[in-house]
Each structure stands twice: as structure tokens, then as C-alpha cells.
């Protein structure tokens, strides 16, 4: 207990030096935690926002093969799927049943735009209605009508206003061209998903009519998982259960390869495909991992620089305290205790820097969180209701602590060894 007390006292003796060294450590830690914490929050916000737009974290698509060899996307009689989910232990908050078509053409006069059109059973998806930031019109006018809800970017491109009638051109489930007139009843702010997602919504019966589907049929089941982070794992569990139950299932793959499989394979009845949110936005996970690795790399490089400073500073400290070391050795302190004293000082320094760095990162993140960025468009998908969040990954925190403390101890080790190896008599003879 004596050594730690002495170490702490020694740190207090040269306050400026301690603050500067500790500050350098704190700076590196702050950068690391800020980048990591913001990116983690942005990743989870993106997952949440995208899953709300897509209505789930896990998706089931049914395909049938026509006599001519063309595939048709369609789901109905989904009790076997719900049963399989129950057996596989896939727990969810809600199920959405939507009819979607990715390349629907909305035409108004001389303008047109390709959108992702979704048919919604509005009474059963109140979360979507709550999530959409309606800037004009009223969502109440859409249920059971020919009403259309479009994103602001769509409205701007077409130069349409509420109650304008637009022409919607689609390809039916079997590839026929169909056209219908819908009325713009609401316009909402659309978070720009990497510049690629333009959305429009209508009542599911309206979209089913356009796509020549019957009542009760739809194209995609979305499952809102209780544990979204386990989407991939639960997807695999569900796939295993479905195979066990003898439900025809395509091998898990990305959407492009699945389309190829739908085209090339032959089967009877309905065959299913399972996708997760990461399959729809595949860039998210690699981007997140990339940012985390990058922030670790930055921390490592920063600390290599800081280590040089710590090594030099401790060499100077050992030199300045040569007589003190000699006195301590003369009083009976062992070499290991001398080494331990300097290492403890370094450890306390690193801990102080770590804690300060985390506090600084948290304060900056809280400050950034006060900014309302909901009108930028570009960042919307990464924000929680227009604001930055901050999440510290506990495992990452422990790794950073271990890394910083380890590197600091390593930097102080050689000077500490040198101090321990000093001869007491020579140390006392030093004129300093």
C-alpha cells in the first residue's frame, strides 16, 4: 500500500508535467472513444431507421415458378412461416406484410421518377405512420383509397403537390405492364439512404391491384426482431428450422444471387428466401467494422507518438530523481520496488488519462447531440431523430484500457529498469 501512495504523491509533485503527459494520453483516448462511440451509435441508428423503412430486420420472400419458367414473387398462407419462427425461437415485436416493387415509375406530365413502391396495410403498421415525418397532406386519407404517399425528393422532382393525380407504371408479378392513377395525399421527409432509396407508399389493396395480386397476397414479410443485433444469427436458425420442417428454401445469399437462383432453378409450389437487413444495405457492416478498425489504428499511431514522449519524459524523471532513488535504495527499498514505483506512476498516469479521455469524449458527444441535424438530408439515416447518439462498446472500452495502460507501462519500463539497476552509492554521489 505504501508504494501506490508514494507513486500518487510523486505524480502530484510535478503537476505541469503530469497534466501534459496525462493530457496527451487523454487526447488519444478521447479521439478513439469519440470516433468509436459516434460510429457505433450511427450504425445502430442506421440499422433502426433502415429496418423501420423496410419494416423489419428479417425478411421472408416467397417465389413461385410459372409454367413458362418465369418466377413470380408472392406470399400467402404464411402460417407455416410463423410456426417455423416459433419453433426456431425467433422472437419478434411485430410482423409486417407488404407488397413492394422496387422499380415503379411515377409520371406527372413531362417528368417521371423511379421509386420503391410499397403497399402498406396502414391500420396494422402504425409505427410506419408514426415514423414518417409528414410535411404536407394527411396520412389518414390513404387507407383504403387510391392515395399515394411520396418522399419530398420525389415530390420535388415531379413538381407535384397534395391532391395532384399522378400515373404509376409498374410491372405485375408475372411481368405485365400495368398503369394506374393515384392521388398524392401526403409528402414526407425521406432519409437519403446512400443516395439510392426513393420511397412511395400506398394502400396494400391499391398496390395489389396494380401488381395483379389477389387480396391477402403480398410479396414480403418483414419481422421486427426483439434482438436486431442477432438478425443474421436468427436468420440462420430460422433457415435450419424451415429445412427441418421440409419447407422449400433457397440457400442464403445476397439479393443479386438470389434473383439468379430464382431465374435458373425449377421447383413446384412456393419456395422461400430469407434475407436480413444487412443483405439490403450490405455496406453498413463493413463500413462500421472499417471505422472501428480505423479508429483503433489511429489510437495505435497516436500512442506510438505519445509513447516516445513518455519514454523521454521518464528518462528525464529518472535522471532528475537519481539522488532520491539512491536514498530510497539506501533505506532498504529493493530493485523491484523501485521499478514498481515508476511503473505504478506510469499506470496511474495512464488511468488518469483514460478516465479524462472518456469524460472528454462523452462531453463532446453530448454537445454534438444537442445539434438538430434533421434538415441535412444526407445524415438522416445515421441519426436518432436528427441527432447524434453516443454508445460505448464495453468490450472495446476494456480493450482500449488494456492497450493504453499496456503501452504506457511499456514506455516507462526501460527508464524504470534503469532506475532499479542504479547503484545506491553512485546515485547518492551524483551532483544534481
Amino acid at each position: 500500500m505504501v508504494l501506490p501512495k508514494i507513486a500518487l504523491k510523486n505524480l502530484g509533485r510535478q503537476k505541469r508535467r503530469t497534466v501534459l503527459l496525462g493530457g496527451a494520453i487523454a487526447f488519444g483516448v478521447m479521439i478513439m472513444f469519440l470516433v468509436s462511440g459516434l460510429s457505433q451509435s450511427m450504425f445502430h441508428a442506421a440499422e433502426q431507421n433502415i429496418s423501420q423503412l423496410f419494416s423489419g430486420h428479417l425478411f421472408l420472400i416467397g417465389t413461385e415458378k410459372t409454367a413458362s419458367g418465369r418466377y413470380k414473387i408472392m406470399l400467402k398462407n404464411d402460417e407455416i412461416l410463423l410456426e417455423a419462427m416459433k419453433k426456431a425461437g425467433v422472437e419478434y415485436n411485430g410482423i409486417s406484410r407488404r407488397t413492394t416493387q422496387q422499380r415503379s415509375n411515377i409520371i406527372f406530365g413531362k417528368d417521371n421518377i423511379i421509386v420503391n413502391l410499397s403497399g402498406i396495410d396502414w391500420p396494422k403498421e402504425p409505427e410506419l405512420a408514426a415514423r414518417l415525418q409528414v410535411t404536407a397532406g394527411d396520412l389518414k386519407n390513404v387507407t383504403g383509397t387510391q392515395g399515394l404517399v411520396i418522399a419530398e425528393t420525389v415530390a420535388k422532382k415531379l413538381n407535384v403537390q397534395i391532391h395532384d393525380q399522378v400515373t404509376v407504371q409498374v410491372e405485375t408479378s408475372t411481368g405485365q405492364q400495368n398503369v394506374g392513377d393515384l392521388t398524392v395525399e401526403a409528402i414526407f421527409k425521406d432519409p437519403d439512404l446512400f443516395g439510392g432509396s426513393l420511397s412511395a407508399y400506398a394502400d396494400i389493396k391499391t398496390v395489389n391491384t396494380l401488381l395483379n395480386l389477389q387480396d391477402g397476397e403480398y410479396t414480403r414479410m418483414g419481422v421486427g426482431l426483439k434482438e436486431p443485433a442477432r438478425a443474421d444469427e436468427l436468420g440462420k436458425k430460422l433457415a435450419a428450422q424451415m429445412e427441418k420442417d421440409g419447407i422449400p428454401l433457397f440457400a442464403k445469399d445476397n439479393f443479386q444471387n438470389l434473383m439468379k437462383a430464382w431465374q435458373e432453378q425449377y421447383w413446384e409450389g412456393t419456395k422461400y428466401s430469407i434475407l436480413t437487413i444487412n443483405d439490403f444495405v450490405p455496406i453498413l457492416v463493413p463500413l462500421y467494422i472499417g471505422i472501428q478498425v480505423f479508429s483503433f489504428f489511429i489510437l495505435f499511431v497516436l500512442f506510438l507518438v505519445i509513447m516516445v514522449g513518455i519514454v523521454n519524459t521518464y528518462r528525464m524523471i529518472v535522471y532528475e530523481r537519481t539522488k532520491e532513488i539512491g536514498t530510497l535504495r539506501a533505506l532498504g527499498m529493493q530493485r523491484s520496488q523501485v521499478r514498481g514505483l515508476f511503473l505504478l506512476e506510469a499506470l496511474f498516469l495512464s488511468l488518469g488519462g483514460l478516465v479524462s479521455g472518456v469524460i472528454a469524449a462523452t462531453l463532446i458527444a453530448l454537445g454534438l447531440g444537442q445539434l438538430n441535424l434533421s434538415n441535412t438530408g444526407l445524415l438522416d439515416v445515421f441519426l436518432n431523430n436528427g441527432r447524434f447518439g453516443f454508445e460505448i462498446n464495453p468490450i472495446l472500452a476494456v480493450l482500449v484500457f488494456v492497450l493504453v495502460a499496456g503501452l504506457t507501462l511499456l514506455a516507462a519500463l526501460f527508464p524504470a529498469r534503469r532506475a532499479a539497476l542504479m547503484s545506491p552509492a553512485e546515485a547518492l554521489r551524483t551532483t544534481l
Binding site: 413531362k110 408475372t174 400495368n178 431465374q263
Partner: protein, 247 residues
């Protein structure tokens, strides 16, 4: 006497009605036969000029190769320069799009529009009216100086792009002069005019086509064909060829 006159009139009317009722199935079969190349290869260069209001005309030039016997075709884009080397390859039911920049093949569809124009990829494919449609109504009319049959066609399956087509066909040689294509809901989507044909080894290929987008004001596409040939083609209907051409 009165009875005889009535009988004669009825007979004349029947004959006249019979003369006015074409063998529509045979007409559709003739249309297909005289535009398909079942036993020989076909190739030609097509210029596609796409006009959209408020935009400059988009001009593409593409070389089309067809082997109808094996349901194969390939389109190689020659112009504009930024798209040179891009191509479409049909193998059986699959249509692939090749991008030389990424050197990757992606799934496409016959029903998609060709190069952002009003032409569809299926417009370059063999004609299949006799298999995919039945005539529900036909009547005689005149289109310009030509005597035509105006036929209303309904799809016999739910997989063709246009469930309903109205067609103006020359009575003398069964060449299509005009078509109106309708959506499943009965809305006019596209009007096509075929003012010029070229005889290629006994078959007739429309060497000038005008496509009007009836859903979008002012949008149209003009196709013109040249260098039409039935010379045998080498083994080019494969992905390797598209990749090789771009090396």
C-alpha cells in the same frame, strides 16, 4: 319475288361479311414467319434516337445479332463512347447485361427499356404474336393509302409485357404499320409506327420505327436499321465473346 330478293340480299351480305373477316390466326402466323430467322442468323446495326422534353436527344448505336433457332440474341453498344462495349446477351430465358468497366454480368430483363429509350429489350427479340396473342376483333380500315386490318389482340398468357395490343396490318402483305400497346388496366402506353421495311433474304425487318410514349408527354424514340445481313455468325452467343470484344 320479294322472297327471292330478300334471299339474294342475305346471300350477298353473307359473302360480303365473309370477305371482310380475315383469317387472323394466319395473319399473326405470317407476321411472325416473315420477321423471324428460324434457320439462319441475322445481324444489323440500329441507331436509337431517344427524345425527352427538356433534354438533349440521346443517340445510341448498337449492333444486333440474332440466332432465332436457339432463341439467342446479343446487342453490342457501339455509341455513345461512354457506353461502348456494353452489351446484352440472351441465353434461353436469361438476359445478361455486361459492363466492360466493372467486367461483370448482371441479370437484366427482356421487359426492361433498352438504354433508357422507349424501346424494350424484347423489341429486338423474335416475334411471337401467334403464340402469345389471340385476335378478339378485326375490321377493315384504311391507314393513309394502305388497306389494313385493324386487329385487337389479347394476350394468351399473363407473361407478355402488353396484355392488349391494337394492330394495323396491311391486307396485301401482312406487314404491321402501327401498333398501340395497352396496359393490364386498358391504358394506352405506347404507340409504334413502322413506316419502312427492308427485305432481308425474304424476311421483312422494320428499318424505321417510331415509338411514342403515351404516358409521358413529348417522349419518343426513333429506331433505324442498316447493314442488315443474314451471313452466318461465328460462335458469339456467349459471355466470353462479350468479354473478349472489350479487351
Amino acid at each position: 319475288m320479294k322472297k327471292l330478293t330478300l334471299a339474294l340480299a342475305a346471300a350477298l351480305l353473307s359473302v360480303s361479311a365473309w370477305a371482310q373477316t380475315p383469317d387472323t390466326a394466319a395473319i399473326l402466323k405470317t407476321i411472325d414467319e416473315q420477321s423471324n430467322f428460324d434457320n439462319i442468323d441475322f445481324s444489323g446495326e440500329f441507331t436509337i434516337v431517344s427524345s425527352k422534353p427538356g433534354e438533349e436527344n440521346n443517340i445510341s448505336v448498337a449492333r444486333l445479332f440474332r440466332r432465332d433457332a436457339k432463341q439467342q440474341f446479343m446487342i453490342l453498344i457501339l455509341k455513345p463512347e461512354v457506353q461502348k462495349g456494353q452489351g446484352y446477351l440472351k441465353e434461353g430465358d436469361n438476359l445478361w447485361f455486361y459492363d466492360p468497366d466493372s467486367r461483370k454480368f448482371a441479370f437484366s430483363s427482356l421487359k426492361e427499356n433498352f438504354n433508357n429509350s422507349d424501346a424494350r429489350n424484347s423489341d429486338f427479340n423474335r416475334s411471337n404474336y401467334s403464340k402469345d396473342y389471340k385476335v378478339t376483333k378485326a375490321e377493315a380500315a384504311k391507314l393513309g393509302k394502305f388497306d389494313v386490318w385493324v386487329m385487337e389482340l389479347e394476350a394468351t398468357n399473363n407473361e407478355v409485357s402488353y396484355p392488349k395490343i391494337k394492330m394495323w396490318v396491311r391486307k396485301d402483305n401482312s406487314l404491321i404499320l402501327k401498333t398501340e400497346s395497352y396496359s393490364l388496366s386498358g391504358r394506352l402506353m405506347r404507340t409504334a409506327a413502322f413506316p419502312e421495311y427492308t427485305n432481308v433474304d425474304g424476311r421483312f425487318i422494320a428499318s424505321k420505327i417510331l415509338l411514342i410514349n403515351n404516358l409521358k408527354e413529348g417522349e419518343k424514340t426513333q429506331l433505324s436499321a442498316k447493314d442488315l445481313s443474314t451471313k452466318p455468325l461465328p460462335d458469339i452467343f456467349n459471355k466470353n465473346y462479350l468479354e473478349r470484344v472489350n479487351r
